[in-house]
Symmetry: C2
Subunit: 209 residues, 2 copies
């Protein structure tokens, strides 16, 4: 068995502290080999029944990118309608996506209809396939961060419309729309905290049964 | 900005290769301080809108543990009914949970009704709250593994019944039932591959749009 040093564990803790959602990117391109290193993480990720249900699209054409950005802008305008007064003003001031600057866009899907794994572990909790994709994205996020890259997860999107615009096969579910690039700034504090939207809970509450 | 060394990145890659789902545990107890170190990872995890929707239960009483184990056994018997012939025989031979031996059981829930974060980022994709919980579990898994501990994610469960048995509040969704303990053996190869259930895909297929 491999053993890990105190130094390594301290580095891992640092990495997790640093791995904030990035929304401010420089427009500098990401080297293809670095992007590949990030994406290769998917092949290390565990998945329910070894189903490996992740499906990855690089959103590259200007038409596809424009459709995704338009999707974000309209979905964000609709979300703003859900707030009033000072909260609406604050919401409108937040930068919730780095899509305009990030050089790489990835749309990560789950193939809920995959035969791989023959359904093992997903009969009573079929959502486990999508959770496997989220776990793999989380590992990729850490790999990217360890390389100095930033990743921003955009969830202010209408998945149905994105699927139509990107011509996604039936049976695939959007799990994550990711912006990847070089962060324009680095901070330990989540931006939503800096801007006064929400604070971190002071302590983790654990119950027993 | 913090920078990470080649050595650290190599260690991270090793950690991800090792972090296999563990189903064979020794019954040795896990020191409370070590378990706390694992659980503290949740407070480092990002979450949609800073909603921090994770709710963690330590399943400790013999009554609760027995209910969860019974739940697994009956759900697993039902899952077996979905296979026939050799596949059924193989399925029946697989060890799909380490619940009997693992000293620590954690039931990780998502509070879908939380006000924290005021719904930011979750209006068009409310599943983002549960995905945030999965991301946090993934980080905890890595922390545990770096400490030499193993984690097994049990998904062969009927969540409705578990919620009733553990008296879970309305609005909480089961995301992960985790066994935590000292692995009885370590391997780089997923057990489902060793046993001939499924193999890893040879390469990651990436499409462009």
């Amino acid at each position: 068995m491999d053993e890990f040093s105190d130094d390594f564990r301290a580095g891992l803790h640092d990495l997790m502290r640093w791995r904030r959602d990035v929304r401010h990117f420089s427009t500098d391109p990401v080297d293809a080999a670095l992007l590949k290193q990030c994406l290769d993480t998917f092949s290390l990720a565990p998945s329910v029944g070894l189903s490996e249900p992740w499906r990855i699209l690089r959103v590259r054409s200007s038409q596809s990118k424009a459709a995704a950005i338009r999707n974000f802008m309209e979905t964000n305008a609709k979300a703003l309608d859900g707030y009033t007064g000072d909260q609406a003003k604050l919401y409108a001031s937040l930068k919730l996506s780095g899509m305009n600057d990030a050089p790489e866009h990835l749309a990560v899907y789950c193939d809920d209809s995959t035969d791989k794994g023959a359904g093992l572990g997903a009969a009573s909790m079929p959502e486990m396939r999508r959770y496997s994709v989220v776990g793999a994205v989380t590992l990729m996020w850490l790999t990217a961060r360890a390389l100095g890259l930033g990743v921003g997860w955009v969830s202010v999107l209408d998945p149905k419309r994105l699927n139509a615009d990107l011509e996604i096969p039936d049976g695939w579910t959007l799990v994550a729309y990711l912006c990847v690039g070089w962060p324009a700034k680095n901070t330990l504090t989540p931006e939503l905290e800096t801007k006064g939207w929400e604070v971190r809970a002071p302590a983790l509450h654990i119950e027993s049964r």
